[in-house]
């Protein structure tokens, strides 16, 4: 039985992967494409918060919201200017979107390393201090991570289930054609969803900014991890994304604790086997 520190760590990781994967699946369920740039939006979110907090001196929660808005807007821009124009209605469409978003990975990383430099930056001063509980101790930052993630997830839940927008989104996700009949503009919905998804990625990044070091390349691992989380949960299933994120987070940290550096091969092998025996994941709808 791993010590409590490992479980807390697993919880923290679950929080990132959950938030990331949720945004990704949201985009996938509406646009039907995987946004491979998701990790770079995570990175940009972290940088926005960093500068908003250190340079401008905006309080952290506000800075987080700002990051969400800014990067969400950026995501909408990407959707409007690139994805929408590249995503032609044919078998090839998804292919071109994949290529475009993957090219954007290089674009954003290059831009970030030009603008912000490659040196590690940090926000350790946001919630300094450690809560000491005798045997184990938790830093206030990690507590903040958990709280913020809960807030964001609840907000998403309310948004999706209690508001007209959310209704429209879910409708467009389940029955695009029917939704069109009911006068829901799928175009606008997908634009909105892209914004929300990227905002979520940015939020994840900004939550993590005080915990990890910030550099232009921090987006890559979370991107792949949330991809795996989605596969575990099942492509296109929102609950799947959350559950997958939680599973991945804990598995990641417990396996690393048991087998140290063999953890990554275990993860990938696990996902390959899962894809072969049950491609639809835990919650996805079975394929023909």
């Amino acid at each position: 039985m791993p010590p409590a520190g490992i479980w807390i760590d697993g919880l923290i990781q679950s929080c990132i992967y959950m938030t990331m994967a949720f945004g990704m699946v949201l985009v996938f369920s509406i646009l039907g494409i995987l946004n491979w740039t998701h990790g770079q939006f995570y990175m940009l979110g972290a940088f926005v918060v960093y500068y908003a907090f250190t340079a401008v001196g905006i309080p952290f929660p506000v800075a987080m919201l700002i990051a969400g808005v800014v990067v969400g807007g950026l995501g909408m821009l990407v959707e409007k200017l690139i994805i929408e124009r590249v995503n032609i209605p044919s078998a090839q469409g998804a292919l071109y979107v994949t290529v475009a978003t993957m090219a954007l990975i290089f674009f954003f990383e290059g831009a970030a390393s030009m603008l912000f430099g490659m040196q590690e930056k940090g926000l350790a001063m946001v919630f300094p201090g450690v809560l000491d509980l005798g045997s184990l101790s938790v830093s206030y930052q990690k507590i903040a991570v958990i709280i913020f993630t809960l807030i964001i997830m609840t907000a998403m839940y309310i948004m999706l289930n209690r508001t007209k927008v959310g209704l429209a989104i879910r409708a467009a996700a389940q029955e695009p054609d029917a939704a069109r009949l009911y006068g829901i503009s799928v175009k606008r919905t997908s634009l909105l969803v892209m914004g929300i998804g990227c905002a979520l990625a940015a939020m994840a990044g900004s939550i993590m900014a005080p915990v990890y070091a910030i550099n232009p390349f921090i987006g890559r691992i979370p991107m792949i991890m949330s991809l795996l989380a989605i596969i575990i949960g099942g492509l296109g299933s929102l609950t799947g994304a959350i559950v997958g994120g939680i599973i991945l987070g804990f598995v990641n940290s417990v396996v690393a604790y048991r087998l140290s550096y063999f953890s990554e091969v275990v993860l990938f092998a696990f996902v390959i086997v899962l894809l072969l025996v049950r491609p639809q994941g835990l919650f996805g709808t079975p394929l023909k």
Binding site: I12, Q119, A124, V130, I221, S260, S263
Partner: protein
Amino acid sequence: MKRWYNIATMVVITVMVLGVAWAPRPAHAEEPSIIKIGVPTAMSGPAAAWGQAGKAAYETWVEVFNKAGGFRVGDKTYHFQVIHVDDKNSPEGGAAAAKQLIYGEKVKFLAGHWTWNFPAIAAVSNPAKVIFMTRTGNEAVPGGVYNPKKMPYVVFANPSHEQFTSDCLAITKAFPKYKKIGILDCTLGKGIGWDYVDAALDKEGVRYHHEWFPVGTQDFAPYITRFAEAGCDIVYVAGWIGEAMAFAKQRWEMGYKDMRVGHSGPFITPLAYLGVCGKEAAQGFIGQYWACWDFKVTKVKRTYVKMCKEVMEILSEKQGKPFVYTGWIGWLPSHLLILSQAMEKAGTVDDPDAIMEAIRGGTFETTTGTWTMSGAETYGSPIVFGCPSALSTIKGDKEVYLSEYPMKPLP
């Protein structure tokens, strides 16, 4: 009308792009009195911070060195010129950079300081009879790629495993109270002769525990816990800057406050650590140190100290804020000093064999002290010298001299 405007802009853009693309590299004057030194170093990737900070320092130092009169061979005066090429911090990048420097720039000397792409660069430079002064290299262990018979044109400052050993010993000498040292490295560093480090530590009676983490790890909690369970009270991180910072921060957050952390690299600036780790967590963080004017054990020639200080001042003025990175001092300047003195001894600048002859077993004044090529009994090669593992630690927001451990050849 508008169409013409568009076409015109298109043309302009194309011309500009082509201009940028085909722009010839700045032509290097080919006077005989300039010695070109190729420096394959990391300008991108996780070690970019070191590479970029180093580049500025090296170029300034070379200016200062040339201004001070360069060096004389026979009756001619020679100046150095350094050409940096990004090796993308990877072996294939290093090989490509070395090829570009040797065949493209026609350099006769390489001086680099990265570890895990040394073998690739050496494989390119050695057949071309290009003298490669490397600060650290992976493969100098018996059975490794480096073989003094096959690679007569490679000069080591100190191979990776020797540096790590010496660092660990320096730490344990500095803090006798720590009972067990944990050694953390990225899986990238697995193959660089840790078994020799272990042998040396065993001989000195130091207790240690190894851990490796996969590339790109951000979350070190599992490894911290494993170290804690192994009873390590000080951990030496042989990874990149970011990883060392993350480790220090997270061990603090997990409540292992008295688990001390050291790093195999020098500080760029302590402020980065304060930013990433937080003030308390960064206190007592150990890094490498090269501000030779503080050295207690190793004696350094005053002129060199003055030079280095001058460079630091110039750079501070240039960037407007104090330039506190001292890691560069032990690297390129010492290589170039050894090279210049060897050339003076050999009386030639373009006969690699003669120069290597002068280097073998010779004694040289460098920015890190006086070194006699002392590797003979270690590697069966007389072309390995040492470096002091000089350590510093973070106090407040300053980096202060801690201790040093003059390198002795390994058994």
